[in-house]
Symmetry: C2
Subunit: 644 residues, 2 copies
Amino acid sequence: MKKKPALDHVYLNDAFQCSTININLNLPEEESVEGCSKGSKEFILTEEGKKIKPKQQFTLPDCSKNVLRSGYRRIFNRKTLEKRLPILTWLPKYSIEDATSDLIAGISVGLTVIPQALAYAAIAGLPVAFGLYSSFLGCFVYIFLGSCKDVSLGPSAIIALLTYQVTQGSWQKSVLLCFLCGVVELTMGLLGLGFIIEFVSCPVASGFTSAVSLIILTSQIQSVLGIIANGNTFVESWTQIIKNIQHTQLCDAVLGVTCIALLLIMRMLSNYYIGVDQADQMTSRRRLANKVIWTVGTARNAILVIGCCIMSYLMHSEEHGTPFRVVGVIPPGLPSIQWPPTSISIEQAIDGKPHGFIDIVCSMVSALFVIPLISLMESIAIAKAFASGRPIDASQELIALGTANIANSFVQGFPGTGALSRGAVNNASGVRTPLSNIYSGTLVMIALLFLTPYFYFIPRATLAAVIISAVVFMIEIKVIKTIWRAKKSDLLPGIGTFLACLVLPLEFGILIGICINVVFILYNVARPKLSTELFTTQSGVKYLMITPDRCLIFPSVEYVRNFVNKLSIRQNLPVVIDASHVYGADFTTATVINSLIRDFSQREQLLVFYNLRPSICALFEHVSVSQFTVYYQIEQLEIFLKNV
Amino acid sequence: MKKKPALDHVYLNDAFQCSTININLNLPEEESVEGCSKGSKEFILTEEGKKIKPKQQFTLPDCSKNVLRSGYRRIFNRKTLEKRLPILTWLPKYSIEDATSDLIAGISVGLTVIPQALAYAAIAGLPVAFGLYSSFLGCFVYIFLGSCKDVSLGPSAIIALLTYQVTQGSWQKSVLLCFLCGVVELTMGLLGLGFIIEFVSCPVASGFTSAVSLIILTSQIQSVLGIIANGNTFVESWTQIIKNIQHTQLCDAVLGVTCIALLLIMRMLSNYYIGVDQADQMTSRRRLANKVIWTVGTARNAILVIGCCIMSYLMHSEEHGTPFRVVGVIPPGLPSIQWPPTSISIEQAIDGKPHGFIDIVCSMVSALFVIPLISLMESIAIAKAFASGRPIDASQELIALGTANIANSFVQGFPGTGALSRGAVNNASGVRTPLSNIYSGTLVMIALLFLTPYFYFIPRATLAAVIISAVVFMIEIKVIKTIWRAKKSDLLPGIGTFLACLVLPLEFGILIGICINVVFILYNVARPKLSTELFTTQSGVKYLMITPDRCLIFPSVEYVRNFVNKLSIRQNLPVVIDASHVYGADFTTATVINSLIRDFSQREQLLVFYNLRPSICALFEHVSVSQFTVYYQIEQLEIFLKNV
């Protein structure tokens, strides 16, 4: 078989001594639509062993022309409309089965979201009513804009904690934060910036989630024990807890620990089946029992909260009050629709100082970057978990999230997103479309309208138990072992993020993790691996072959020049640089390679490039790189070396 | 000829069904010393067409063992000592010819550095004497620690401007800045952080230098016109100049413009030869004439300054003073040796407020990163310009620079580095070793001891002319055209840096440029080019071959998964991912590839990897990636596809 049939030519920039210019390139015109519109523009020289005869080039439509027209078309065509209003794709096909499934799923999620809303409001340092305010309007918005059936918008533990760290329990600040986060998310979505979550690697995400879970756990343990211990950092909190442990409220502690135990047992139930594995061999009684068990497991939070609420009510007496600390009065009725507050007067301020709009916004700057990022990460995590390989449109999720948060801010909601726990309930209940959100949203509204008097008796320790039994599974310890085995260096960003999140405000913690990762990338770019081999041609000429394994751009090319010079001075032999893996170069590369060629010509040593992409050849020529020689075929290279 | 002789095997992670495990890898043990100690640790699968029989592996000493012992040896062996004290390499071989050459070069540089020192002190906003204080002790230090014969340490226009922007003309702050920069440089040098200058690409460096030159030009045009126009930004300065143009001092302006014209003419002289090209055919008279012309060209600054000084002295009268603004009184004698000031009392402060140490240091934080970076860049630029391919030790230059600046701060110097103009004079005068610094340093000391009374009459316009005629050539306009032709995208960091430096403090300007470049790198990493081809095997099976052209790490792998999924859903064919160019992967890659494999198995579509490096295979296995298939030979891949 002939070698490199497509690349039978030699390229010399001064004289174009090409035996046959016959380069088979994947030119932009022949590229796939995705590759052309999104990927970098460098093309690839196809290599031998990959092309099999009969060759058949896969030609996809030209996308390099008429960018303006296609941009115009892109904004106004039907496909884009469906992409931006996903309801248009599923509503026309909506069936009665879909409606039944969505109803069941919606009610299941509604029963999950109400206790969660009450509990997460406590994490955000707000009165529990604000949790409910954040849990209905966003759901309705998501029906129109949401692209993932499993996502149920509402408060999330992580975002609640981030909100608390920024607003310190001021509801005005929280609502304004909700509005501003919505604006940032919507803007990012419209600008197509959904890709930024790709810069949060798995180890950083794990480190962040674990740290957040630990912090939430710490704060909720205080509620369970019934002690008040406010520390600013994780270590301070624990010191305070240990110091105040003697003030533990016995009733709260007993109730809390019991609730946690019950919740963990009920959680196990939802994965438990009675009887044989085969569904067709099951009796209807067994099937019913399984269904009951599953329902108890899924609606465990609601069941427990209702149970404890009733118990607390029964134990209540006029003289002694309730034996547990309870949620207390919740203003009945729906929240009023009003603009998010833009300033805080002296009377409203927690710290007794008035705050202007600029003042408040300045204190939120980093959070306005981090909360949208984390919100999107949580939503996308759900989408990914249940999408079974269908591509996810992160930008559309951002648009839905942003609009929902803006809407929520008009009904005094705090920032929310799709929480993984609700996504799992939604999916397990057989959700078919985002319409399930209508039922969960309505359930929250019913709760606000009619149930708030009954919420008075919900013990705080029970809500804390609900949170603890959820976040305890978010601490990822196992992943450390996996990363250790797979790639030890990835532990550094992971553990770095974890520790930074524990000792610093969360938003700086995750930014530090991302920065560590970026430094890794930069190191990777700056220090290519150069493999060196000594070869002898069939005519007996020895030469050094140096192969960089990645692109040569400004942080690495000076290193490569030093490496090549050092080695070539030591081994006074012709040097061939194999550029097969060099997919890109920049202006700095060209100037440094120019110096390298000058170094070699001053030493009167031979330097040849092998398999250098024509695009890079053209770049070198434009920077008037002094005469350089490129070969694309090893046989011709050998002939050249023999004749020198 | 057989294809891929070194890689005849198939790899299946569940059963290791390898026909022949015979991978020819450049394992770390066989790598070159440089590759092993500095490069990334991923190895390269050698490809066909590169290996030529008879194969002969280039084996270099093992460097993976005894790291501790070698580290110990590295610190204390002779070679390291010579690296850290470069004087040990050249002093033993020092000859009389070397001494003569160094003497001539030293005096030439001395005659350049004295007017430069006076002029650059004005850029730094300091009395001219401080320029001289910064120009002698560092030279003596560089003799011992400097690795480049052409570098002459002393004030530089760029560093002087950076100093001015931070210290606003306070000598106490400038001297403290000099000390702290020295400490930062020394620390960075000892930690081997010299590589950071590689993150300043050519376009960013050009943009920065051009902006600095324009700013200096603006400030010196004021001196030439004899008007006082202090603006904070470039635009403000020009507005002020135009506004105050009617206050132009005629004498200063005439002198300044004449001086600039004379300097430019004398500059041209240094490149001008009388008579024939061949040296042997030259008469001794012509040779003498050429030498005189060259000397006039090289010592033009000193000649002009001396000439103008004499003229100014002659035109001076007791009643009317001097027609020009002159330098004025310079305290005679060497500066006292004392600790750099650590605080500013009310009496010393320019702004009438006392400043504590912490206070001053906080105002300098970004400058303490940027000044060492730019100092090193300037020094390395000289070294590179005259090194003719010998590798340059940036860390050693940092150590020399740092020690020199620390020393200078004890004699009230402000930060300095090796200026390119002096480097060029040094080289053109035939310098042989860093010992030439002893003569230029001594000349500055003589000037301080005996010549300061005469410096009184030096017109400020002449000094401004010296600066203008130097910086005007630092504005790089031509490079824009070259970059435009070579790589248009590289204009963005270049022009971005240029504009940012004009409107913001210089240190932020260059940091913005570096950030733009880093974003480019991240985009490159996040969006690999994926080329897609449709192939048909000889047995008629069609399949898609998708080839990513670079590493798959966390910011890109989700994009690749989406791309592959989209394309595979559209074309329901077996998919082969050619990983020949994939040099690295991380933990995130493994988890996402795991999802990709699951996506394919859910669709019951075939996914095969081709030429995936064993290190990445191992990584995938550790993250328990579900069964994946890898082939290293196209024939075996075809057989596999036929049998499926």
